[in-house]
């Protein structure tokens, strides 16, 4: 019930976001008898695709964050900082340099394969090192991500592609147009897959022995989770660019009141993620109107403040 209310709020917010922009689009100009042809075109070609891209990215990255946290059994990891996004960027760069004629779908697949390898490497390292503190896990992710990042920067610099790399790292929805974001619909399918397998991820989050005891195949669940996280990350990087803090913040906030049962948490993370990115995108569009600040930048600012608050509060409670 509360979920329904939250969903309606998000939909209203989304409808509101359609009206923001330099070109004048208002409900009046759309539905009056003398409908404004240009406003309608702006709506269909730019505003609606942008709104959909924002919601799809929010939903899928939030859920991917939740899944990654369950796979590594640590709340402080995020696809954006645990090697997934960085290796996806590296893959995308490799595809751009080595096979520039590849269609977007092909590039996305290359990026996804890299993201898969990068995240698998992250998990492999975690198996090898003693995890003395919960902070070791995100630190390993940051280090690994930085290594990928420096390789990417090195080659991008030599090939004069730094600007593209920057675009992959900074999610910006202002370039979203009809025909250039549709790949993101696949992420909705992946989110649904995650929901169907929700119980498995919850159980995997309790550990390998726990999972085996309940008769499930731990490595198969890990593989499924890795594929979902990598594909989502790669698609987001290829289409609009990464959004920081989303995959970290939203699952953590949701967990505070629904707990970690993925069956209950995933719908909330999906709605919450969409709301978070929507708010960041709207803020970025109105703060310096008529100019824009990329949604990812706003997400970085808002996210870091919220996360600090959350960290301090959580330490006080659980320790």
């Amino acid at each position: 019930m509360r979920l329904l209310v939250a969903f309606i709020v998000i939909v209203l917010l989304a409808l509101g976001s359609l009206l923001i922009g330099v070109s004048n689009v208002s409900w009046h100009s759309l539905f009056s008898p003398s409908a404004d042809e240009q406003a309608l075109q702006v709506l269909v070609i730019s505003r609606i695709p942008r709104m959909l891209a924002v919601m799809l990215v929010g939903t899928s990255l939030g859920v991917a964050g939740l899944i990654l946290q369950m796979l590594v059994r640590n709340r402080f990891v995020d696809p954006a900082t645990a090697g997934a996004a960085e290796s996806a960027s590296l893959g995308l760069l490799a595809a751009t340099i080595l096979a520039p004629q590849l269609p977007v779908l092909g590039k996305m697949l290359v990026a996804a394969v890299f993201a898969l390898a990068g995240t698998a490497l992250f998990l492999l390292i975690l198996r090898r090192i003693p995890l003395r503190s919960v902070l070791i896990v995100p630190l390993v992710g940051l280090v690994l991500g930085s290594v990928f990042d420096s390789i990417t920067t090195f080659y991008a610099y030599r090939m004069d592609l730094l600007q593209s790399v920057n675009a992959w790292k900074t999610g910006d929805f202002s370039n979203v147009l009809r025909g250039r974001y549709e790949l993101l619909w696949v992420t909705l399918g992946l989110t649904c897959c995650a929901y169907i397998a929700a119980d498995r991820f919850t159980v995997a989050g309790m550990g390998e022995a726990f999972t085996t005891n309940l008769g499930m195949n731990y490595s198969r669940i890990m593989a499924l989770g890795l594929v979902i996280v990598s594909l989502v990350t790669a698609m987001v990087v290829v289409t609009v660019g990464m959004v920081p803090f989303l995959g970290l913040l939203v699952p953590n906030l949701v967990s505070l009141f629904t707990g970690d049962n993925a069956r209950r948490a995933i719908p909330w993370v999906a709605v919450g993620g969409a709301g978070f990115v929507l708010l960041c995108d709207i803020l970025g569009r109105v703060v310096r109107f008529p100019y824009e600040i990329p949604g990812a930048t706003i997400a970085g600012v808002v996210g870091s403040v919220l996360f600090l608050y959350f960290l301090l509060r959580r330490d006080a409670r659980v320790g």
Binding site: M70, R73, T212, N213, L214, G215, S255, G259, N261, V318
Partner: protein
């Protein structure tokens, strides 16, 4: 029946479990006792297939645990290990419901829900059912995990130190609840216990391990003898018979 044949676990050059061949009795409570590092928990983990063995075979009702599909075994055998400190934020009821997963595959029926309520009630968790695991004390959490394992409704239940973190009152309550589960539901419970006297008072069968080997096994009155315990623990332990139980006094 659970049967182990030449089960061995090796870490590098160290033998943790050394060629153990055992037939665990059906029905009743079997407790594995022995000093630290005797390989008790390792043996239990290998029997329940959550830890691969270096060599040997474990048969559960004739099914080889290495080759039998996981979900088939999950309906015959349940294990609770000690390492449940790091847990997700699930409510007690959610956790216990996961115990039904091998039967329900994630779609609990009315019967599954009845099992869940019974297990929660049996472990005295009714008032805590909606609480999150991280809001419970160590002892309450331990009871929640035992409730989940009982809810799995398997013939064999393996518990690694179920009294860990429980105070005296809850330890007694836990052992009584396990005893009831054995007597009314005809389950076979195998557990690792550190407290000799709890093991002696509640078990039908004791298995003593030392240095990776099973050194003695038998009824409590066969094992609770000074010469046997001396060989297991390297300690002089005198045995008293109090109210029909064999009690070890080893505190001085």
């Amino acid at each position: 029946m659970i049967e182990t044949r030449n089960v061995t676990k090796r870490y590098g050059d160290t033998l943790v479990v050394d060629d153990v061949t055992l037939r665990l009795p059906v029905g009743g409570i079997t407790s594995i006792i022995g000093p630290n590092g005797a390989g008790k928990s390792t043996l239990l983990s290998m029997v329940s297939r959550v830890l691969p063995m270096s060599s040997g075979t474990v048969l559960v009702d004739g099914l080889d645990v290495r080759t039998t599909p996981g979900d088939v075994l999950a309906r015959r055998l349940a294990i609770l290990r000690q390492d449940n400190h790091l847990t997700s934020r699930l409510t007690v009821r959610e956790l216990v419901t996961f115990g039904r997963y091998p039967h329900s595959k994630g779609r609990p029926t009315v019967q599954d829900r009845e099992h869940v309520e019974r297990a929660i009630h049996h472990m005295g968790l009714d008032a805590l059912a909606e609480r999150f695991l991280d809001e419970l004390s160590g002892g309450q959490r331990q009871r929640a995990f035992v409730a989940m394992v009982l809810c799995q409704d398997t013939d064999y239940v393996l518990l690694d130190e179920p009294l860990n973190g429980l105070d005296l009152k809850h330890s007694v309550a836990m052992m009584k609840q396990l005893r009831t589960a054995v007597d009314t539901l005809r389950k076979s419970i195998v557990m690792v216990l550190h407290d000799l006297n709890f093991a002696s008072c509640y078990s039908d069968h004791l298995i003593a391990m030392r240095d990776g080997k099973v050194t003695f096994q038998g009824r409590p009155e066969d094992i609770m003898r000074p010469e046997v315990l001396r060989a297991v623990y390297d300690l002089d332990i005198s045995i008293q018979r109090i109210d029909g139980d064999w009690i070890a006094t080893h505190y001085r």
